[in-house]
């Protein structure tokens, strides 16, 4: 009798949440992405949709996080599952193209009211793959060189000047290679833009498998450059070493930089510089899996997430990202001071001339593999 009661209680406990609706959000990226959904966006959505529970899952930083989402969805597709486990996914650029091509995503941008608030190229084209309709940019982020203004007087303006500076100041420049997060990858991509041939073709295509032969000199120089620099453990590793004064300069994500500085984890004398010809940045995308169990709720969630208010208060003010939707839509939703904070060291003009995308996917892989072969090994 007692066990029957217990079973009843257990099944009641299990059934209760099922009667309410659950929205499963899987997000790739650093911990700040999970925090954003869990602490900010999720509660906001639950307030406007009573009875809905938002469950956020982080799948890990860098492209590996997106890879895990891809593998889960593609396994459920292969198994002909009627409804997939994720309702909203937040993914990186490289994987978005693959997922759209493999029919893992729903075309939803036209169905939500905020769909027309973004006109940037990144909403249509993801590293050379056509993703129009499948994604909404959550935010844009940018890499730049952070430096300690007390230790660096002659701030380099370009990659050649930076290389010369690192040579003159051994072990004062640090970056995380290509296996410890995207800020190092971005630095290497920027190096190829600066010293490889045909930088423009890397961004626009068409892909030419023989192009990598033109990078030999650039990579040999990078190997030489590496002898005078510190290889740090990860994106946060670079910031840690900057904070402790162990290095004076290194590539970082702009949003992480501002967040760390606001938290007092970086000294106030740290500054940012976007060096010529430019360094890459990238958006993160909101997408809806093709067989999401809660497609309608998922669309509502993304509509809220890309509304001007949330983009202003959450993305820009709280987390220091550049907005995903076009900037003019945020006018009036944000204090001038909060907006200007994003452009303290890097002006909008710098950003438009030197903020580059990552190379198209096949070149991207070629750059990473050439680096492994010619620089790291």
């Amino acid at each position: 009798m007692r066990s029957a009661l217990l079973a009843l209680a257990v099944s009641a406990a299990l059934a209760a949440p099922a009667s309410a609706q659950t929205l499963n959000v899987a997000t790739a990226g650093d911990q700040n992405m999970v925090d954003y959904i869990k602490d900010y966006l999720g509660p906001l959505f639950e307030k406007s949709h009573p009875g809905v529970k938002v469950v956020a899952v982080g799948t890990g930083p860098g492209d590996s996080g997106s890879q895990k989402i891809f593998e889960k969805l593609s396994a459920q597709k292969a198994a002909n599952a009627p409804a997939w486990d994720f309702d909203v996914v937040v993914i990186h650029q490289k994987m978005a193209g693959d997922m759209a091509k493999d029919a893992l995503l729903a075309k939803y941008r036209g169905d939500i009211p905020t769909g027309k608030l973004v006109t940037r190229d990144t909403a249509e084209n993801s590293l050379g793959a056509d993703v129009s309709g499948y994604v909404m940019p959550m935010f844009h982020s940018q890499t730049a060189i952070a430096y300690n203004a007390d230790m660096v007087k002659d701030v380099p303006n370009s990659y050649p000047e930076l290389a010369a500076w690192a040579k003159a100041h051994p072990k004062q420049f640090g970056y995380n290679g290509i296996k410890g997060g995207m800020s190092g990858v971005a630095f290497v991509a920027g190096w190829i833009y600066a010293f490889g041939q045909d930088g423009d073709k890397l961004l626009k295509g068409p892909y030419d498998a023989s192009a990598k032969a033109g990078w030999d000199k650039a990579l040999a120089d990078l190997k030489e450059f590496n002898k005078n620099v510190v290889i740090t453990p990860g994106n946060a590793g670079t910031l840690d070493m900057l904070n402790r004064g162990e290095i004076a300069m290194g590539p970082v994500w702009v949003d992480m930089f501002y967040t760390w500085q606001a938290d007092g984890k970086l000294p106030p004398n740290m500054k940012l510089k976007l060096v010529a010809p430019g360094m890459p940045g990238q958006p993160m995308y909101y997408a809806v899996p093709a067989k999401a169990a809660q497609k309608k709720l998922a669309e509502d969630f993304i509509a809220l997430a890309t509304s001007p208010e949330v983009q202003a208060q959450g993305i820009v003010k709280k987390f220091n990202w550049y907005p995903g939707i076009d900037a003019q839509n945020l006018e009036g939703k944000l204090d001038k001071a909060d907006w200007n904070k994003l452009f303290t060291d890097i002006t909008p003009a710098d950003l438009s001339s030197k903020g580059k995308p990552f190379p198209i996917a096949p070149y991207f892989n070629d750059i990473l593999e050439s680096y492994e072969k010619k620089v790291a090994n």
Partner: protein, 276 residues
């Protein structure tokens, strides 16, 4: 076959099925992927693995062997004090303390070392505060040394645990005979105790070797990525390129290295059984 044989088979079957499904099948699958390129049997994945990661393979071997050697030294020292020590409070304190790192996961150890071993980290700052070092003399240990230090710190207690057990079960008469004839404790340790527990030490080191080969978090967190250990390369192969074949080829190279260690282990344990 009798009924009891069937019953026995039936009892073993779930365990066997589990091993087959969760170990043999993935192992076979990864072997097949490693040796297949564009649908045909080939060594292309291994060619690429050596082309890109030959330095990392040597680096991995260097790290695990060095960590193993230092672990052995530390374990022999601790177990020796526990067995031959004559200062009760020292032996007691050591016995209570040495096992602690066993309960700390690798990733937590990596996280602690990251701030402890940095150039301006806790260790160097303490040395500077004690007046042992000038701030300008400090150096960061967050490279291969950091990985080795973390591995030794984490693995020495495990090896010590097995070794101290073996030493405790030795016939004390041999030790006392040596002491009575005037041998120092160090000499007793090296010439009488150690030869008798050598098989246990080697087995413990082999197990520790296999563990350190497979750790991903420590090389990732403690040191930069050039060069790095094979586990990091495997993760990168999958995460950056979705390239399972070359990752599996690297995996097979790891099996081959740990396979050698396992062969050594089996040979030791067979010898021990034959001797018993």
């Amino acid at each position: 076959m009798t009924d009891s044989r069937f019953l026995a088979l039936g009892l073993v079957a779930p365990a066997l099925a589990l091993v087959a499904a969760l170990f043999l099948y993935p192992l076979g699958f990864s072997l097949v992927t490693a040796f297949t390129h564009e649908g045909v049997l080939s060594l292309a994945n291994f060619g690429k693995a050596f082309d890109l990661y030959s330095v990392d393979i040597l680096y991995t071997l260097f790290i695990v062997l060095l960590a193993g050697a230092l672990t052995a030294v530390a374990a022999v020292a601790i177990a020796g004090v526990l067995t031959l020590g004559e200062t009760p409070w020292l032996v007691g304190a050591l016995r209570a303390l040495y096992r602690w790192p066993l309960f700390i996961p690798f990733i937590v150890a990596g996280q602690c070392m990251r701030t402890f071993l940095a150039k301006n980290g806790l260790m160097n700052n303490s040395f500077v505060a004690m007046g042992l070092l000038d701030p300008l003399q400090t150096a960061s240990l967050l490279d291969w040394r950091g990985i080795v230090i973390t591995f030794v710190w984490k693995q020495a207690p495990f090896v010590t645990l097995l070794l101290a057990g073996a030493m405790a079960s030795l016939d004390r008469a041999t030790i006392e005979a040596g002491r009575n004839l005037g041998a120092g404790r160090l000499r007793v340790l090296v010439e009488i105790v150690l030869p008798q527990v050598m098989p246990t030490l080697l087995v413990a080191l082999v197990l520790s070797f296999v563990t350190t080969m497979s750790v991903l978090s420590v090389p990732m967190m403690v040191a930069g990525s050039q060069p790095t250990m094979l586990t990091v390369d495997m993760a990168f192969r999958i995460n950056a390129y979705g390239d399972y074949p070359v990752a599996n080829a690297l995996g097979v190279i790891s099996y081959a290295i740990t396979g050698l260690a396992a062969w050594f282990y089996l040979r030791q344990s067979i010898r021990k059984e034959a001797a018993a």
